[in-house]
Amino acid sequence: MDPMDAIKQTYFQECDELLASLEEGLLALEAGEGDADTINAVFRAVHSVKGGAGAFGFEAMVEFAHVFETTLDLMRSGKLDPDPDSLKVMLRASDVLADHVQAAKGEGVVNEARARAMAAELEALASGEAPKAPAVEEAPAPAKDEWGFTPLQFDFGQLDSAPSSGWRLTIRPTKTMYANGHDALLFLRELSRLADIEVTLDDSALPSSDAYDPETPYLNWTVSLPDTVEEIAIRDVFDFVGDDCPIELVRLESPPPPPVSAEPAIAAPALAVEAPAVESSQGEEKGADKGAGAAKGATVASGGATIRVDLERVDRLIDLVGELVINQAMLAQRVAESGAARSSTIAMGLDELEQLTREIQDSVMAIRAQPVKSVFQRMPRLVREIAGTTGKQVRLVMEGEATEVDKTVIERLSDPITHMLRNAIDHGLESPEDRVAAGKPEEGTVRLAALHRSGRIVIEVSDDGKGINRPRVREIAVNKGLISSDAVLTDDEVDNLIFLPGFSTAATVSNISGRGVGMDVVKRSIQALGGRIVISSVPGKGSTFTLSLPLTLAVLDGMVISAGDQTLVAPLTAIVETLRPRPEDVRPLGPSSAVLAVRGAHVPLIDIGVALGLRNKPVDPTTGVILLVESEGGGRAALVADEIQGQRQVVIKSLEANYQRVDGVAAATILGDGRVALILDVEAVVEKRLHERHAPLAKAS
């Protein structure tokens, strides 16, 4: 990769983090939980995004970020109250900034009109307080004018007309600067490239040789630059050292004294301590970078040091550990076959190895575990947008953002959550008028929560809306031919109708949830991950969607079964119960199919061996074992296997990596004997058999 591209990628990664902390900060302020530090963090986030954007020449982004930053700066210096109204504007501004970042990545376009309107709104917010705006803003103004925007109208013309003959720059290197490997000479050389400069050395601080500390810098420089040099160009020279090398930049013969007096506050460390709020952009440049790093560290693990690792390396490690687990199982099997006693040293050594392997596996999985926050943090924006489109007032409450789950699962959580939130707002919540009429507050609440429960991650999306309109759901299902008009259904069963393919409750298809995909798609994608989704609803009180997923997609708890001559693995999550049928429970139905009576209900029997084409004739169910599984839509089926070998955790291996998707097979794994075993896609097997009504059961594949 081109080094510049690599840097750009890093910048984009940082942008994502900065945008997240920006939004988080604004939301905290909105909730009234923020303090001066929060405002500073928010300001730094925007500032850092802008800084990088400038470096890469994303001018539209710089332009917008600057306006945003200007407004935030007012808030930071206490000139603008962080009241809910201005925060709402800022939240929307952060969305626009995120659009800019996406556009810069080449993954989207910025709605120009929206961006301009947003900028205007921010400026209005800023200028509302303009008379009180401090002089701090004045000095940067002319330099930033080159970008083509007007941060604060009042000081602009004034400064442009101000006669000036140049810049005086004082450089005061600190100990840390030298310790970090920077050299004042390089700055001077860099500055000399900008223009003809005149450098004066100030050695007044130099002590006598006996008091001399070789590691303390005593020398300061004063540089005179002509006013043809842009301020930003000068500041850019020091971009990478920031606080480590305070500078003092003064425009000579500039009539208004405020900028002169305000500017030094940037530079002198002593002053900065006394008046941190007046730190100006240069000091901030560095602060922003540090702030970003610190914020990142704090969110990941409070206080602990973190490193950024290429995901591929972690995945490779996980693969290797998977192989180790398989190898260990193979070894154990060999030793068992060799007839070694369980108390023999070799068997005991193997036990220890097994424990170690398990621990290594757990630790490696923990590396890939991530808080669901990365998905959750995209949701407030989504909710704001949907609320805007639907004209409903929505408050999103999020809980358990720190809940950790494997990265592969996280990646696939986003779509179902998005869909469920859309659904909750679009279909669940009532309009403000209806809410008031129902005696509820105008603003609806949607709760998004994540928690761990019995080795799985549970995501709950609930709303305090009107609940599922059961008569209406029933009516639609009947109209669409999904159920017969005289079907007797429990409330739960009615609720579950919304998961049926082709069901959509919105009377009119809206562009929010009615995109041609319904809750059936959500259910299907959740099930593809080995998850389940349930719904509970109280009329007038609201609905709750609860989805539970395995914590990882790298290993799976499975039941090892045999069918035909093959060993197969059935995911435990799909199995409701296992049983050995009595002959009288198996009843033939139709020419070649049979059903099994289980506690009064009759479920279709499916021979796994036949379904997978491993044999032509089904085995007699009474000689085999039945796995009672639950299929999509809550229907049940009885899978017939020859026998159950045991229950075990298996490492999931993709078939698609070297081959392709195979019907009826979810993935593969490697068993203790080193052979590949296929993991059953229970849903697909059941679906396929039940929808092949015309095909004879004994059909050979």
Binding site: Y659, D663, S701
Partner: protein
């Protein structure tokens, strides 16, 4: 495999037997050669897909080259050999009767596949290497996986 061909005039080829016929592959496409281990059959797969085996933790599909070339289904024995080869980013195992030798052939000495009016020949034989009175067919791997595969692998 095109990525394996270095722009010089000599090709290195691995030759192998299937029944009475001799075939070869560009050596750059071959990752390893291993003995036969029983494969786990895949449901609903074409007859020339013998199944999958475990190649040090990866799931490797095994293609019966004999069946793929329309020469009948291979009978596996302890002497059968699996040639592990790259096709694009994928690894596949090719089941053959036995590996013979490594050949060096001048690129210019490779003859065009004669038209014998056979679809499998024109599809899977890239050229003919004539050497010491033998005729060795140079196998084209790009098309060797089952149909739907090619769309994805392309």
């Amino acid at each position: 495999m095109t990525n394996g061909e270095i722009l010089n005039d000599t090709l290195e080829l691995i030759s192998f037997r299937i029944g009475e016929q001799e075939f070869c592959l560009d050596i750059m496409a071959v990752r390893e050669i291993r003995g036969w281990t029983p494969a786990t059959p895949l449901p609903h797969s074409p007859p020339f897909v013998s199944g999958v085996i475990n190649l040090r933790g990866a799931v490797l599909p095994i293609l019966d080259l004999k069946a793929r070339l329309g020469l009948g289904v291979a009978e596996t024995s302890a002497r059968s050999v699996i040639i592990v080869a790259h096709i694009g980013k994928r690894l596949v195992g090719l089941l053959v009767d036995g590996v013979s030798e490594i050949l060096a052939a001048e690129r210019s000495a490779i003859q065009q596949t004669p038209n014998v009016g056979c679809d499998t020949v024109s599809r899977f034989v890239r050229g003919i290497v004539a050497m010491e009175g033998r005729m060795i067919s140079w196998i084209e791997l790009d098309d060797i996986l089952p149909e739907q595969e090619n769309a994805e692998a392309a």
